[in-house]
Symmetry: C2
DNA sequence: CTGAAAGCGCTTACAG
DNA sequence: CTGAAAGCGCTTACAG
């Protein structure tokens, strides 16, 4: 069934059929009704490719999740507790706005070709990239494609200094620095003076921000920065588990609290401690970041920093759509607060 | 940049450009190289819509997650521990096969229009539907669209009796009945005689299968079926929590073990019990179904039935692609085993 | 081996 | 208000 067929059946031309489909105002109500009736009777839907070819939008946005450093065969991306809610929220919002979403994951630099193709082949009106690593070259390349693009979680100052701030681009961030600061000050307020950190991947924006907040806050409070208490994680639970075990095995002194750069690692750390009979929170306080679903379902319930993922995703979707609609290349950026959710995994240090 | 431009630059016709893009054999190596060079220089990618219009495939498959009974504003679909891994695995497999995936969620019957449109508008070559409820009318309608379609988790006998088994259709299931049977027999083997169940949504195939396994197995072993121990759940954690609390509040006798139709509910039940100081597994054994990520990270680690989601998803993707490629309408079905993973949440009943 | 031409199914000036 | 026509960017018989 093509518009031609509908036209014949309704006794009009394809032009008219097209006009009613596209809601042109200059179609008499009677004609419109006649055409609409035939369309409904036959469940006609215009071929989306033909429409797109003829200049309409695709009504599809791309969602690309970058997860370069994930190890093979371990947690994949949607089981990744960080990405899953973004995917969830983006699809949700986009669907509600009548957009389809094309999803692609990127595990290696080669996979990037696919996301470039999605743009170049005109499969999508615009795209959202989440989880970009610190790699201004890739960002430059993507921005160079000159399609509406929204980056979730990327260092704005880097974009500014590279003068990438005047294309069809928007950046949506969360205030990780402030959120992490709040968590650490909470720990300090509880009386902790020896605070360790499990780092995230330092080549991501959030990984660095969360770490910097840790370092700055300790310094500001005149607290020692003990190298042994700075565990090199990568956001993955296995690594955090191993690092904690290693610290424990070393037999050296322990901090009284740990701030973990994400919940997944915080929970592994809890496991590692409890296996060594170090009670959380009695003997060791742990705070996480992200507030993943599991955080409130384990024992003790995890104190963490909540990321406003839904709001961020929604903003990202609205931004791409806005960029698709507007002619003027604009650059914009928006940052959402991340706030502490105090639960049961932290308490004052033992005397 | 269009094929026309490439053609000019390479000194050939569009036809030839198209031939090299589509890997026709009758292009001399020299010509091919010349064209390829220009293509690469300009990062040219053929417009996917034009290709599709001209008869090529879209190289896109649809993934539709149906979640009709989810309550508003509560767990959305990708945070849904059942769907997330399917999405993960499907995207993964499809991407690896060079396919894009178009995702859409269905929360209400109205949303179904969108999935129909995706087919009708020819946006995708074929689709995968996961989470279809027992609604043969919708299935009939989808199958009637006459596009390659794979159903994950649907009652095959229903399809057979409706004679829907000769279209571009495939069904991918897991052996929930056998898996649930294994779990219940394990409980029985441990010595439990009073076994309760937390039901899933009975309008889904897996909800019914898991329940039937429970009923049949108890009967086969001559064990009593106590109505009070049959909790009406719907796969959602909140409902399970409430139901367990209600049972506890009733003050009536308790079973010594519960089989929960999914892990999410099993974990809620554990919470509810522990809040009433009923120790799991000492005083109450609990077995779940799905083996979600959280199952092995909570205390006690949950005994559950593992669903081979990755294999199922992979089969689904391969099946749609196969259906897209083949001319003959075929019907096929494949069923994957689900097996018990015994962990720490079950033990023999207290004397 | 390769180009000219028709066709895929739409949309949108253009002309009336 | 509405139809004929051009055009979107490809692919693929067809003819040579």
């Amino acid at each position: 069934m093509r518009s031609e067929d509908i036209a014949k059946l309704a006794g009009v031309s394809r032009s008219t059929v097209s006009r009613v489909i596209n809601n042109y105002s200059n179609v008499p109500e009677e004609t419109r009704a006649k055409v609409l009736k035939v369309i409904e009777q036959h469940q006609y839907e215009p071929n989306s490719f033909a429409r797109a070819l003829a200049g309409k939008k695709t009504d599809t946005i791309g969602l690309f999740a970058i997860s370069m450093n994930e190890k093979e065969n371990t947690t994949r991306i949607y089981q990744n507790n960080y990405f899953a809610p973004f995917v969830d929220a983006v699809v949700d919002t986009a669907n509600a706005r009548g957009c389809y979403v094309l999803i692609h994951t990127v595990y290696s630099p080669d996979d990037f070709l696919k996301v470039k193709q999605a743009f170049l082949q005109k499969r999508i009106d615009g795209g959202i990239i989440v989880g970009t690593q610190k790699d201004i070259d890739i960002v430059r390349e993507m921005v160079g494609l000159d399609s509406p693009l929204v980056l979730i979680d990327y260092d704005i100052s880097e974009i500014m200094s590279e003068h990438l701030d005047r294309n069809h681009l928007a950046v949506v961030n969360s205030k990780d620095y402030e959120g992490a600061t709040e968590a650490i000050e909470y720990l300090i307020g509880l009386g902790h003076a020896e605070i360790g950190i499990i780092c995230g991947r330092m080549n991501t924006y959030s990984g660095r921000e969360r770490y910097m907040a840790y370092e700055d806050t300790l310094k500001r409070h005149g607290l020692p920065l003990n190298e042994n208490f700075i565990l090199q994680g990568d956001f993955l639970k296995e690594t955090a588990y191993d690092e904690v075990k290693k610290l424990l095995a070393s037999g050296g002194p322990l901090p009284t609290a740990f701030f973990s750069s994400n919940d997944d690692m915080a929970i592994s750390a809890m496991e590692a401690f409890s296996e060594q009979n170090i009670a959380v929170p009695e003997e060791m306080s742990i705070a996480g970041f992200d507030d993943i679903q599991m955080a409130s379902r384990i024992q003790p319930k995890l104190t963490t920093v909540r990321l406003p993922i839904y709001e961020m995703s929604k903003a990202a979707v609205e931004k791409v759509i806005e960029l698709c609609d507007s002619q003027q290349p604009t650059f914009s950026t928006i940052s959402f607060p991340a706030r502490l959710i105090a639960r049961d995994s932290c308490q004052p240090p033992k005397q």
